[in-house]
């Protein structure tokens, strides 16, 4: 191989080692702790939160929803992301190898406490308006439960949408329910439990089978 400049190796990761896509955000701390236990040196990742690419450790960091994209295209061999992200991007061709157990959250339908806005809209208008950052999960859930829903995609704080009358309810991820209750919302239905998952690129899963299997065994062995 020629040209080992940083740019080249970014496009073509070192073939003898796995490149791991690591999610920043809520799963970041537990993921780094897991990598530490697997013997990956994460000191530099912890000490520098502007840098995104850590070649020595074989780590690239990104927002969780980008992890399946990088892994599908083989820019990372394996990655860690939430099941919520995978459910929202079902067309991504990645292998889901392990439930890592941490980052446990509930995908829920929530609405203003006390006034049954969802039920009322359903009864009188024949449809509900639902705000969410997860339009596909939301659409699937309402379709599966036989209700017509108008999905309103919002990017920021979803809790605001029902309070201002934009929507009757929301579909969102919650760990403790605190943000919901602080905003006068309550959980009406639970859709699915989401945890962190180990995913792999389909080609790397064959061409780097030994290293991926060793990693999976190591993670399983420690009962994560």
């Amino acid at each position: 191989m020629t040209g080992n400049g940083p740019k080249d190796s970014a496009a073509m990761p070192n073939p003898s080692r796995l490149t791991v896509a690591v999610p920043r955000g809520a799963l970041f701390g537990d993921t780094l702790a897991l990598l530490d236990r697997l013997g990956v040196d994460t000191a530099e990742v912890r000490s520098n939160d502007r840098k995104l690419l850590f070649e020595d450790a074989g780590i690239v960091t990104m927002r969780p929803s980008d992890v399946p994209t990088y892994v599908e295209h083989g820019a990372a061999d394996i990655g860690i992301t939430g099941k919520d992200v995978l459910l929202e991007a079902p067309e991504r061709d990645v292998y889901e190898l392990l439930d890592l157990g941490y980052g446990r959250c509930e995908m829920v339908v929530a609405a203003r406490s006390g006034d049954d806005a969802l039920g009322e809209a359903q009864r009188r208008l024949g449809r509900v308006r639902v705000g969410t950052k997860y339009p596909r999960i939301a659409a699937r859930h309402f379709a599966q439960t036989g209700r017509q829903a108008e999905i309103v995609a919002v990017k920021g704080s979803v809790e605001l949408a029902p309070l201002t009358g934009l929507v009757d309810g929301i579909v969102d991820l919650t760990a403790t329910g605190r943000t919901l209750s602080e905003n006068g919302l309550e959980v009406v239905e639970e859709i699915v439990t989401c945890t962190a998952r180990l995913i792999a690129n389909p080609v790397a899963h064959k061409l780097k089978a030994d290293r991926i299997d060793a990693l999976v065994r190591q993670i399983r062995g420690e009962g994560a």
Binding site: P15, Y95, E96, V203
Partner: protein, 326 residues
């Protein structure tokens, strides 16, 4: 003023076209040199013909009415039209037949997915012979043709399309539970697969078997690992793969083949060995194929067959990436 083309289709300009042409010439030359004569079939077929080949193949594509009110469809792969061609144009002709093709196929795409709606496939079909020797010929020729096209590190992943289904039957998994398990396997969602397997309430040995098979990948030693727990249940599939690895080794290409016992392909007409082609420079398969012994019979002229189809644009991406790494 913007005049768009549909997402998933593309215009090709001279610089790229020259390189694509070099690839199709190299692949086509290798196929022709090995005795595979090129055939051409129409992009438009009667929908019923495509449906005869594979119930899902016609549904996903593009349909239209002709001036008689007949339903036409754009072909979604090349193998079904060639099965029709063999059963009609070669009826009564002694095999084996060696055919090659280069043509466009069409599939529906998810919005914004970046998938190709129209794609150029270059491939071969070997019709007549049963067994490992034929499959080895197709796989070895695939590897050699890609050498000609400028790839160097490409590999073939090899499995058996009927293996997991046979296992489920052998373990008496109720019929209605098999579908979800096979779906999980084809999407390689091993987490959900594990949940479904747990719900079956099988003996620990049977449970381990269903969980371990999709993870078995590697060289010929994988078959020995599988033989203990699998031996009795999937004897036919394992013997087939062993014979095929032997035939590949005689052709000197076994070290470029990776066994992958969890490999399942999307198309339902495969009956035995299935394979995919990879290059470490790119994260997606360059093509795939397998044995489809029942397909030509659906058109009235039963003949065993196997083949492979390569996606020319993907081969080009891999070739360009390999060139950059040199």
């Amino acid at each position: 003023m913007i005049h768009p083309i549909p997402p998933g289709t593309r215009d090709v300009l001279p610089d790229e076209m020259r390189e694509l042409r070099a690839i199709t010439t190299a692949l086509g030359g290798a196929f022709e040199g090995a005795g595979y004569g090129e055939v051409f079939t129409p992009a438009l077929e009667y929908e019923e013909v495509l449906r005869t080949g594979d119930a899902t193949a016609a549904g996903a594509g593009y349909r239209m009415f002709d001036e008689q009110g007949q339903v036409l469809a754009l072909r979604s792969d090349m193998t079904i039209p060639i099965a029709r061609l063999v059963a009609t144009r070669f009826r009564g002709v002694e095999g084996p037949l060696r055919l090659s093709y280069a043509g466009h196929a069409y599939r529906a795409v998810a919005h914004g997915s970046g998938q190709q709606r129209e794609f150029l496939q270059n491939g071969i079909e070997l019709i007549g012979p049963e067994g490992a020797e034929a499959e080895a010929e197709v796989i070895a020729l695939t590897l050699a043709a890609l050498d000609e096209a400028g790839l160097a590190r490409h590999r073939v992943g090899l499995g058996d399309g009927a293996l997991y289904r046979t296992l489920l039957e052998g373990l008496d998994v109720p019929e209605e539970r098999r579908g979800p398990l096979l779906d999980c396997l084809s999407q390689r969602d091993l987490v959900t697969l594990g949940r479904h397997v747990d719900e079956l309430g099988l003996q620990p040995g049977a449970r381990d078997l269903l969980m371990r098979v999709p993870e078995l990948r590697g060289g010929v030693n994988v078959l020995e690992v599988a033989d203990g727990p699998l031996g009795g249940l999937a004897r036919e599939a394992l013997d087939g793969l062993r014979a095929l690895m032997q035939a590949l080794s005689e052709r000197g290409v076994a070290d470029r083949v990776i066994l992958d016992l969890g490999l399942v392909l999307e198309l339902s007409y495969y009956t035995g060995a299935v394979y995919e082609v990879y290059d470490p420079a790119v994260g997606f398969a360059l093509g795939g194929g397998g044995r489809y012994d029942d397909l030509i019979g659906r058109f009235g002229d039963p003949r065993p067959a196997c083949g492979v189809a390569l996606d020319v644009q993907r081969v080009h991406i891999a070739q360009a990436a390999e060139e950059r790494m040199r």
